[in-house]
Amino acid sequence: MSTDLIQEARRQTEICNACRYCEGFCSVFPALTRQKAFADGDISHLANLCHNCRGCYYSCQYTEPHEFALNFPAALAEVRQDSWERLAWPQPLARRFHENGVALGLIAALAFALVFALIQMLQPASGEGFYAYVAHNALVALFVPAFLLPLVAVGVSLRRYWQETGGTRLRWRNVLGGFRAAANMKNLNGGQGQGCNFENDDRYSDTRRWMHQAVMYGFLLCFAATSSGTVLHYVFDMQAPYGFFSLPKLLGIPGGILLTIGTIGLAWLKTKADPKLGAVRVWGGEMGFILLLGATGASGLALYAATGTAAVPMLLAIHLGCVLAFFLLLPYSKMVHGFYRLAALIIEDQKQNAKA
């Protein structure tokens, strides 16, 4: 199955290599012109460098009905998707959740129910803020494994990916190079800042880049907010709830807003873009993931807004349910793309420097 996908992507890669007109769009083309023959791992590498901007589809003179039938964004999307599922552990889980937004939603609902039950059963005798509803220790007991186990699973996958694509020993320089490219989403700008051909056919637009930036930085801010809360709790012995001018809130509120706006934007763009230029089979799973992420941000904000009201227990259960589902699904949902993409950028930095 994956050999067919790789073979099709290889066929198209070879045509592109003879053409090269799209060289200026992204890092995929400079990477592919380095060689003449492409092993399976090379194709996986190219696929994970591609972020599906579709510039190379709309400007290709060989798209169907031409007999060369180029659809490079879709060919790479299929291989990329396949690599995430094939290298994931356990595989069947990955296939299910990547493809199926409903399954994803189901996990979220289950997580919500679990947290809700927890709140009902383990309501502590005392405590302030959230901890008035669910004991801190219960939260930790639930979330630490739910956070660490998926990370371990992703780690295992990345190791296999590293081997498959010929990554070498990690060096700081390459890591920095990879992070730099990721931080400003250099490749999402279309090569010249004109952006993608995502939601508007052959017209360029920067909307996807901005929305994706909002989601990424929103997510990172939220993550930093939680981490800073943890540090305050354990290191400085300062317990939640935190006031508005505290690190967790100063990071978390803008983070939540960015995350919510960004995910609404991305979901809307997705409804306007042509699904045939991506991996069609996972459209639902991708959409489900975006919505889950958006729900996480929005419920977090709502929770803060509802402070002191009767809505708190319910909102808390929803929010923590989303967070839990998000973590559990991390290796088996679109979220994993962030890890692969960063790995691909680092490996690309290595390959470029090996050549130079």
Partner: protein
């Protein structure tokens, strides 16, 4: 839609949907004209040969956008004279060259994006500005700009006849989605390319061999409007029997194979014909200066086919091919796989190898490594073909464009023996014969289309305003 197109008099009809047509339509629309583009291709294939291009040649007095250094009028003109061997209308050529400098910012302002010259084409970084995403991206940008300016486009709309009364055009007959219609306009710009895709016409002009030619670009450039205008007494330029042809991969599609079917292996090869015999010096000059003659060379061989043979020493010395080469461990086997007499091929290669002389091979410059006592000689890069695996490519003539065109003046006006037609203008390949009487200068086709497209659009708009 059909009725809506017919029931009005358009200011300007533009025939064709490639670079020249779009430049004319945009310029005219910006001057306030109501413009209709009639493009014979369906939307997916819009843009003619322009959608296969990658760059245009641009004069510049200092670094300009992606172009390095400078490239002045005289150097540009000298380069042109060298390839056309003087078959050029000098004032027209100089006008096109001078105006090319102004084209680049105009193109950028109308949505075209440029990129540094592609890997493998460094030699062009000073003279040719490459389009980001190639010609199809350029064409898309222009269609979007035209749409924003209110230009109407009819796809699947083949103009079959341009009605001329006295010195004026009145209306066209056009088949839109299979239905004949009459559409009226106050001026017309003809930008419908050459006739290379009409194989019958090509065969009449060139001889029966043309039936075996492959057409590198769009199947829609069949010269219908060119023929129609010539039949009505329009004056012509350019050699009616000639076309520009290069040697391309013999497995390319009949039409529209585009850039990827080119093969750059000839300088490192032994090239034989159907009878496994060599016929020309493969190492006469560097490839960019020779690729255009190989179309004719192959066209002159029996069955219009050639076979390039290399060995493993050379496989990485040229741009990758779109189809993988035929591969074998012996020359005999390679010959058989390609449908040649294997023993004969081995004999030809053997004789070539025996004639090779020692020397220092240098793939990117004339290295003088030549054969001795062989006819025809190979005068550069002559290394024995002796390191398996061996590789073979079939070569066929691939037609880029035809030279016959409409004669125009510096206002892009079309002429008959009685003088200029008052409201008929032409731009692009359909008039390029004035400037390119023979030969070809890489990137000049798009320059001609842009310069004269803009002139035609402006003059047509002036005429109707």
């Amino acid at each position: 839609m059909a009725a809506a197109l017919q029931n009005q008099v358009w200011d300007i009809l533009v025939v064709g949907g490639g670079n020249a047509a779009l430049c004319a339509a945009i310029t005219a629309a910006e001057a306030g004209a109501k413009v209709l583009i009639l493009e014979s291709a369906p939307k997916t294939y819009r843009g003619g040969n322009s959608r296969h291009t990658r760059n245009f040649r641009c004069m510049h007095r200092g670094p300009l956008s992606v172009l390095t250094d400078s490239y002045d009028e005289d150097e540009y003109f000298d380069d042109l004279m060298r390839v056309t061997k003087g078959k050029t209308d000098e004032p027209m050529a100089r006008m096109a060259i001078r105006q090319s400098e102004d084209c680049l910012p105009w193109m950028e302002a109308h949505g075209v994006r440029f990129q540094p010259s592609l890997s493998g084409t460094l030699s062009l970084s000073r003279t040719n500005a490459f389009f980001l995403g190639g010609g199809k991206a350029l064409v898309n940008a222009y269609y979007n700009t035209a749409a924003d300016l209110g230009v109407t486009v009819a796809y699947d709309a083949e103009v079959t006849h341009v009605h001329i009364e006295g010195d004026r055009f009145t209306h066209v007959d056009v088949r839109i989605a299979g239905e004949m219609q009459k559409i009226q306009g106050r001026a017309i710009v003809l930008a419908s390319g050459g006739f290379q895709s009409d194989l019958e016409w090509l065969t009449r002009a060139w001889g029966p061999a043309a039936a075996n030619f492959l057409i590198r670009g769009t199947p829609y450039n069949r010269g219908v409007v060119l023929r129609d205008m010539l039949d009505q007494g329009a004056e012509s330029v350019g050699d009616p029997t000639q076309c520009h042809a290069v040697a391309i991969d013999g497995r390319a599609p009949k039409y529209d194979g585009g850039i990827v079917t080119r093969l750059d292996c000839v300088p490192f090869s032994v090239v034989v014909n159907r009878d496994a015999e060599r016929f020309y010096d493969e190492g006469e000059d560097v490839w960019p200066k020779r690729y255009a003659i190989w179309g004719r060379l192959v066209a002159a061989q029996p069955d219009q086919v050639g076979y390039a043979i290399i060995d493993s020493k050379s496989i990485d010395l040229f741009m990758p091919s779109v189809f993988p080469p035929i591969k074998a461990d012996t020359i005999e086997d390679l010959g058989r796989q390609m449908g040649l007499d294997g023993a004969k091929l081995a004999q030809t290669v053997g004789a070539f190898n025996a004639a090779c002389q020692p020397g220092t091979f240098h793939p990117t410059e004339l290295d003088g490594v030549a054969t001795n006592g062989l006819t025809p000689a190979k005068t550069n890069w002559a290394r024995p073909i002796n390191q398996p695996p061996f590789y073979g490519y079939q070569l066929r003539p691939g037609v880029t464009f035809t030279y016959l065109g409409l004669k125009i003046d510096s206002h892009a006006q079309v002429h008959t023996a009685q003088g200029p037609l008052a409201n008929v203008f032409a731009a692009g390949e359909i008039m390029a014969g004035s400037i390119l009487g023979q030969g070809y200068l890489a990137g000049f086709g798009m320059t001609i289309g842009t310069v004269f497209g803009r002139i035609a659009g402006a003059e047509a708009a002036k005429h109707v305003n």
